[in-house]
Symmetry: D2
Subunit: 361 residues, 4 copies
Amino acid sequence: WLVVNDRLQTANDERLMSIPIAILGASGYTGAETIRLLLGHPQVRIAALTADAQAGKPMLELYPHLAFADLPELVRIEAVDFSAVDAVFCCLPHGTTQQVIAGLPSHLKIIDLSADFRLADVQSYAQWYDHAHQAPQLQREAVYGLTEQARREIKEARLVANPGCYPTSVLLPLMPLLASGLILKEGIIIDAKSGTTGAGRSARQTMIFSEISGGLSAYGVGHHRHTPEIEQGLSRAAGEAVSVSFTPHLVPMSRGILSTMYVTLAPGADALAARECLQDIYRHEPFVRVMPQGVAPSTHEVRGTNECRIGIFADRVPGRAILVSVIDNLVKGAAGQAVQNFNVMMGFPEPLGLTATALFP
Amino acid sequence: WLVVNDRLQTANDERLMSIPIAILGASGYTGAETIRLLLGHPQVRIAALTADAQAGKPMLELYPHLAFADLPELVRIEAVDFSAVDAVFCCLPHGTTQQVIAGLPSHLKIIDLSADFRLADVQSYAQWYDHAHQAPQLQREAVYGLTEQARREIKEARLVANPGCYPTSVLLPLMPLLASGLILKEGIIIDAKSGTTGAGRSARQTMIFSEISGGLSAYGVGHHRHTPEIEQGLSRAAGEAVSVSFTPHLVPMSRGILSTMYVTLAPGADALAARECLQDIYRHEPFVRVMPQGVAPSTHEVRGTNECRIGIFADRVPGRAILVSVIDNLVKGAAGQAVQNFNVMMGFPEPLGLTATALFP
Amino acid sequence: WLVVNDRLQTANDERLMSIPIAILGASGYTGAETIRLLLGHPQVRIAALTADAQAGKPMLELYPHLAFADLPELVRIEAVDFSAVDAVFCCLPHGTTQQVIAGLPSHLKIIDLSADFRLADVQSYAQWYDHAHQAPQLQREAVYGLTEQARREIKEARLVANPGCYPTSVLLPLMPLLASGLILKEGIIIDAKSGTTGAGRSARQTMIFSEISGGLSAYGVGHHRHTPEIEQGLSRAAGEAVSVSFTPHLVPMSRGILSTMYVTLAPGADALAARECLQDIYRHEPFVRVMPQGVAPSTHEVRGTNECRIGIFADRVPGRAILVSVIDNLVKGAAGQAVQNFNVMMGFPEPLGLTATALFP
Amino acid sequence: WLVVNDRLQTANDERLMSIPIAILGASGYTGAETIRLLLGHPQVRIAALTADAQAGKPMLELYPHLAFADLPELVRIEAVDFSAVDAVFCCLPHGTTQQVIAGLPSHLKIIDLSADFRLADVQSYAQWYDHAHQAPQLQREAVYGLTEQARREIKEARLVANPGCYPTSVLLPLMPLLASGLILKEGIIIDAKSGTTGAGRSARQTMIFSEISGGLSAYGVGHHRHTPEIEQGLSRAAGEAVSVSFTPHLVPMSRGILSTMYVTLAPGADALAARECLQDIYRHEPFVRVMPQGVAPSTHEVRGTNECRIGIFADRVPGRAILVSVIDNLVKGAAGQAVQNFNVMMGFPEPLGLTATALFP
């Protein structure tokens, strides 16, 4: 079996020739998930990890599951030698991100996982985030990175705004249906349910186990910040302004988003046509699965993977259809799609580093 | 403190004079929950418990938490002396229930927690439950027991069909709004989420902990059996046929239902008017709470109680509103409303035995 | 049913004659649990609730499940008129408690749920809590309130130190066995597992749902602060100093403690004798249950109740036995035992307000 | 980036030259986990999957998360062409396994994940499993596959008995300590806690989510079937018969085992020496980690990985030490160790296919 050992050796050598990247904001969940995925990526070398408040702390204290991996120390952003890095995954909080990115050297490819560059309209940003955008010129350059919808632009982009978790779960099923005219742009209702990692890792009384376990609640009813991002994507697909009802819920589970979407079919269209449309569009996609008729996907099926699974149902009410989509909010909803976009930007095969099977149960 | 001891003694004496009842089907979750509530009811004496397959088994094996309570043995229905019983809580599976109840002596007050007598239209029953109704004449006599809507009829009834859990969570908020004309009967969308006890206690692979924990799924999309019950109630309120989109979801928690309802406001109406309507209707109700503006209820708040809490929100989309209701599916959604109905039938104050505070956390 | 209405009226009248109490530190879980239990206590009137940082906040914000109960406003301790209060439940953090209690008027009966007065030896307190005890004279007066072991002293006490949750789960099974000489004082090993409410309600990153859910860990191995309290109780029972191995674990559930205890039987003793000993001692206790042979109790069985259940097993290794005990850490492990002690101090029947059946599932 | 595409192509080619294997009993959790791991193994091709009762069913029905993977159909064992297979992972229930394996062609390498060949003493097997062993001659040939302890024998073996989950978590920390004489063989106490997947996937009332969630219980106290397997390993290490106290508990989580072990140090030994012993032994092991002083591992850290992590603590009681070990019961406790053993048997590097980072949170 020398062949294998050789191949491992070769892999090792290639690794030395692989892309050096930095992860900014490695102490949050999206940062840690990016680390997890890139540790399994054969063409990436993690060259720098930053974490402001946690700089200098041992990984054992921050993330014990990463403690024995071959990783650089956590440093402050100022300590990173960006000349030795080709690409950056930016996992910083919104608001501070735009300033940090504005200060990065121009040779870097940047995948930004924050909300800062997702809204093309900086007025809309200002309205939903309560402060003026600090880097509007950079915003114009940014490409919205829903990979399946914008592959070509992402390939050429220097700065990719990685989509939000809720929007990803909604745009993948609905954009093709709007673009094809199979559903109406009026009366779209999105009832979304998320696990707790979507709320991040910061210490908050409302997020402790005793408060979450065994119960369910809606939040941000009628005014969640992912709404304009959803409407931006749907409007692009429809070719005109789309408004949606969007209600997120917090479910006692760590990972996963399930979005249930209630739509009105265009005259003459039916659920079958909608299924066929999505099947056609996504037939060759490695990460989008249209479920067979009558089958609703569960978040269990995509835990730890970059997949989005979509079920489509005729509603009892004539002329209406119901769609159910699931993703892992930390993977296709964050770090996984970021790696997918990185692969596109670098010319790698899209699934590189993203082929692991779901962890079930 | 002799006064207190006296009072306890008195309570004890009264208990001997209290209503002897039987619980049929005590081995399921609704049966056990009925036992739990009635053990705390000052005017009830549990005289008989039945459980077909489990008859003769010690309670320690069936429900250890009830093992040390003062309870009669589990027997088969045939072994019950109904002449020594005044009222019956029937917690049997649907289908068999109608025949059992048809065979009960006529002096009994009956609260049926199954689905068998909920649908006034036996054709509809036959269509949704795949067999002809076996006791249509009894169906005509049965009163649909949504207490807040049918108190007067329940007081006179011999047989009360206790509402389903999903319908209870939907009808309490929506019936008054339809009856008052504040919302339209078209385009009502109900996205409901339930804990696992709604699926009962029988052994099923899909319900084991490893399959449920950490994930979320939709089920019965477009064809759940609670749909006709919901539409029956809404149609009564609206005065004409109402069709709804209804999608239930299974949440990794034991108890609780949260229903998110998307409605279209009538011309001229707004969310404020809807709130005021519900506040007026439910002002003096002991078990229905309309939340203040901007506040969404959580299932945590009603765990173990007979409460229904309702939040009302203006949607971003003009002319639309969103309602969020929560109940404990085993209490207001089953055994609690059954006890409430029993209290009405017996002329007791409605909250008797139902005043415990929610168990949180 | 006028009788019933009369009785309810009478209950109401009596309530006006009932004991006015204050709860200091009502914003934590033990405070909220004390409120929950006392709302169901027929001889108590909650006259004052304090919460330092949260004073003035509406209950809806703090504890929505208590929002519609008839409760006084949350005020700062300084605002309480203690002359209008007969008894105080003190749910403050350890350290500050001793000073607060030292400043309370002497007519008050005090049940302290903190750790401040549990250790009779103030040197031991200083060693385990890293600061000198601020009220050593008060410590001398305090009675350790493990109700089943100290009923007589509690009845006469002005200040009762309510036991910790872990110690309660350990002392109830082991004290009688040590006192009777059936087990040796050497080599006692206690492996304890707790739900998350034992860690309180404060915002900590390590306690958020995403960190706790789906996993298990040991903590404080070899140096948990409940160790000296356990050893104090066991030493009293044994009549000489006892040292134990004690390891607590954090389980992904909200409520409940399960302690597994490994003991060496005295020469000539066996597990059967140990069971009989406990059965004899606890035969007439309302809140301690010795399980039948071969049956291990689960925390499910005691959720929301003041019960302690104990299973006893012969070990495979000759001469050894294994005990398993369960309690609800917030009830028998905190607020429930506090109410039980209050009942003893006031001369009420011990189970008053504590008779609710476990909430299962 | 042709290099990369080339490499992927090469990987693909190699895959065609890779080892064809069969998984018998693919419908249980250990079967599905073996599939998950082998789908990521670069030198394996899954050639056959069997599942008796489920044969012919689409994977979408059985395991939706595997539905879109490139997998053969589920067939009955009789339908497998074993001449086209080089190795077999046997995930069948104990009892039936021994007969199935006895009937397999002799060219096959077999890793058996059941309990059937773990106990070298067939009398002991008969005693604990209530029936005579059906293949005692095969038992003599079988190698007990705790990889770190038996690598050399495993390399030469045709039939490897893959260790049980509890024994793996206990033997890795304790065998070296016994072998080195640092701890005594008397008085070893093992308090183990497992997630629910250890109980398998069959439908049982006691395992449904509503029964498990929110609570904790001990089971099989004093007579769990993993006891003789633990004692067999410890006795081999000690060179004389060892008896242990072993109590398993069922924790409301899907994956993970945490074992807390209480041991007596040999005269002159201390916890530091024990740590150094384990560090020496496991220094170059890819899957065993000795935690730094004062740090206890959590099951979170090993979820989805083949790691065992071990913490060592001096007990307060002089002369005693406490060890805490964690594994993922489905990986190092079952399918992962099976793949590790397969790698050893085939001469592959041990970590091949087992390098994924833990899925946290």
